[in-house]
C-alpha cells in the first residue's frame, strides 16, 4: 500500500506540473485570441475611447507576462481572481455550475457504467451471435451520430411527441431530488448513449482478449459454465482496461458536454467556458480549463490506482 501512496503522490506532483503548463498554454491562447476583452464586453456598440477606458480599468495595459504572474501568485494562494466581465469572484461564478456539471455527469455515469459493463459481458458471452452483431452495429451507430443530433431525436420522441420528459433541463435549487432526476433525464440519456457504446466495446474486447488465457481454458476444463467463466474468471482480470476506458469516459462526461448543455439548456460549466472564451474573460477560462484538466488528471490517476487495486499481484504483494 505504501507503493500506491508513493505513486499517488508522485502522480499528483506531475499533475501539478501539468496544470501549470496548461495554465500557461491557456493564458497565452487567450492572449492570442483576436480582439480583446474590452471590445467583447462592450460589444458592437463601443467606441475606441470607451474600449481604452475599460482596458485601463481592467489593467490590460500591463504586459502579458506580468499579468500572468499576477494571476499565478493569486492562484497559488487560492485566489483565482474575479471575472473581468462581471466582477464576480471566480469561485462564485463557477461553483454552482460545476456542481451541476458533476450532478449530470454522475447521473449519466450511474446509468451508463453498469449498463455498458453488463452489456459488454453479455455480448462477450454471446460473441459472434446475432445479438452481438446487432449490438455492435447499434453501438457503432450511436458512436457515430453527432451528440446534438442524438439530443434532438430524444427531444422529438420523449419530449415533443410523448411529453414524458421536459425538453429543457432548467433546474433550480428548490426542486426535489426526484424532480431534478426527471428534468435532467434527457441530457443524461444523451450522454449515456454517447459513452455507453465506447465502454461496452472496450469491456467486450478486454474480456475476449483474456479468453485465450490458459486459466480460462483451465476453467473450461473444470466444467465451469460459460457465463461463470466470463463473470468469475475473465471479468476480474479485465478490470484494468475497463477502468481505464471508464475513467476516460467519465472525464468526457465532465469536460466534453458543451453541446449537450447547449441543446438542453443545462446550466453547466461547459456553457460558462464557451461564453467566457467569447468574452475573453481570462480568469474564468483559466479556472474552467484547470478544473477540466484537474478532472482529467485525477480520473487518470484514479484509473491507474484502480488498475493496481484490481490487480491481485499488486494488491497482495508476496
Amino acid at each position: 500500500m505504501g507503493d500506491i501512496l508513493q505513486l499517488v503522490l508522485k502522480r499528483l506532483g506531475l499533475g501539478l506540473v501539468t496544470l501549470l503548463v496548461v495554465s500557461i498554454l491557456i493564458f497565452f491562447a487567450v492572449e492570442l485570441l483576436p480582439g480583446d476583452i474590452a471590445q467583447a464586453v462592450l460589444g458592437q456598440g463601443a467606441t475606441p475611447e470607451t474600449v481604452a477606458a475599460l482596458r485601463d480599468k481592467l489593467g490590460l495595459d500591463q504586459p502579458a507576462i506580468f499579468r500572468y504572474f499576477q494571476w499565478l501568485g493569486g492562484a497559488l494562494t487560492g485566489d483565482f481572481g474575479v471575472s473581468l466581465v462581471s466582477g464576480v469572484s471566480v469561485g462564485d461564478a463557477i461553483g454552482e455550475r460545476f456542481v451541476n456539471t458533476l450532478f449530470l455527469a454522475t447521473y449519466a455515469a450511474v446509468i451508463a457504467v453498469p449498463i455498458s459493463i453488463i452489456l459488454g459481458v453479455i455480448v462477450a458471452l454471446l460473441r459472434n451471435t446475432l445479438f452481438d452483431r446487432v449490438a455492435n452495429v447499434a453501438t457503432l451507430t450511436s458512436i457515430s451520430s453527432p451528440e446534438f443530433f442524438l439530443g434532438y431525436i430524444l427531444i422529438l420522441y420523449l419530449a415533443v411527441k410523448t411529453q414524458y420528459f421536459p425538453a429543457i433541463a432548467s433546474i433550480s435549487p428548490d426542486m426535489t431530488f426526484g424532480e431534478l432526476l426527471h428534468r435532467t433525464f434527457l441530457p443524461a440519456l444523451t450522454l449515456v448513449l454517447v459513452v455507453t457504446a465506447h465502454m461496452m466495446r472496450m469491456t467486450r474486447a478486454a474480456i475476449i482478449n483474456l479468453l485465450a488465457s490458459p486459466y480460462i481454458e483451465m476453467a473450461r476444463l473444470k466444467g465451469v459454465p460459460p457465463w461463470k467463466i466470463i463473470v468469475k474468471h475473465a471479468l476480474p482480470n479485465a478490470w484494468a482496461p475497463i477502468i481505464n476506458v471508464v475513467a476516460l469516459n467519465l472525464a468526457y462526461l465532465i469536460t466534453g458536454v458543451v453541446l449537450v448543455e447547449v441543446v438542453f439548456v443545462y446550466p453547466g460549466i461547459g456553457q460558462l467556458l464557451v461564453d467566457a472564451v467569447a468574452k475573453r474573460d481570462f480568469p474564468i477560462v483559466q479556472a474552467c480549463c484547470l478544473i477540466f484538466a484537474a478532472t482529467f488528471i485525477l480520473l487518470n490517476l484514479a484509473a491507474d490506482v484502480g488498475a493496481i487495486l484490481t490487480n491481485p499481484r499488486l494488491r497482495h504483494p508476496k
Binding site: V22, S144, L259, V277, F296
Partner: protein, 354 residues
Amino acid sequence: MSTFVIAYYALLIGGSCLAAYFKKRELFLLIFSLTLVSFVMGIIGGVGALRFVTIAAGILALAAGTSYAFREFLIIIAPEGVAKELRTAPLTAAFGMFVIFTYAIAGIFAPVIAPFGEAEVISSAFAPADENMLLGADQLGRDMFSRIIYGARNSVGLALIATTLAFVMGAFAGLLAATKGGWFDQFMGRFADVIMSVPSLIFALLMLSIFGTNLAVIVVVVAVIYSPRVFRLTRAVAGNVVVMDYIEAAKLRGEGTWYLIRKEILPNSTAPLIAEFGLEFCFVFLLIAGLSFLGLGIQPPTADWGSMVRENATLISFGELTPLIPAAAIALLTVAVNFVVDWMLFRSSGLKEV
C-alpha cells in the same frame, strides 16, 4: 387475411421446414424464431408490422447478397496473396468494404455522378423529391443528392487527411518515445497529458479563433487534438515491441533510432494502430461536425455532412427526415469502416474463434 400475409407465413414456414430437413440448425432457428415473432407482431402491429419485417429482411438480404457478390468479385480481381486474405473476410467486412468502395467512387467522381453542382441553386427551398432531385432540395433549393455526393468528397477527405495527420504525428512521437525512453519519453507523455487535459472542443475553439478557419488550420488543429491519443496507443504498443529480443539484438548491433523505428518497431505496431484509425476516424468526423455546430467548420458553400446535419437539425423536432440523410451517411460510413477494422483486428490478433 390478405394474400400478402398468407404468402408471408407460407414462405417462413416453408423455409423453416426446408432448413430443418437439411439440418441447417442455425438457419432453422433464425427462420422459425422469426415466424414466432411474426405471429406476435402481426397480432399487435397488423399487416404493417409484417410488411416492415419483410422490407427489413429484404434490405438485410440485399445487403448480404451485395456483400457476398462484392467479396467474390474482389477475390477474382485481386492478386493471389490478397485474394487469400479476402476469403477470410466475413460478410460484415465485405459489406464495409463495399460501402467504402462506393463512397470512394462517389467522392472521386463526384462531379460526374452528381446531377447538379455543389452550390447550384435549382429550385425552391425544401422542394420535395421529384424525378430531377432524388432526395429533394435543401434550405436554399440546392439538390440534396448532389450535395451528399460532394459531401463524400469533402467530409471524408477532410476527416481522412486530419486522421492521417494525427496518426503520422502521434505514431511518430509514440515510436520515438518508446525507442528513446528516458526523459524524452517522460516529456512526451506529459506533453500529451497537457493536450488531452484541455477539452477538445475548447481547444479547437481557441485554436481556430486564433488561426482562422481555413481548411489547413482545421486539419492541423484536429490532428493536434487527436494525436495524443494515437501517441499513447503507439507508445503502449511499441512499448510491448521494444522489449522484444530482436530489438535488443538491433540495439546491440549499434543501429540508430531511425532504423529501429522504421524497420523493427513500426512494422510490428501497425495492426492496433489500424484498428484505432477506424474509431478515431469516427471521432474526427464528429469533432468536425461539432465544430460546425459552433460555427467553426468547413467553409460554405462546400457541402459537408456534419454541417448539413447541423443546418437542418432543428427540422427533426417536427418529424422531418431531411437531417437524417447526411447523418445516416456519416453513420453508415463509420459503421462500415469499423466493420473492416474489426475484421483486420481479428486477423492480426490471432484470436481464432470459429
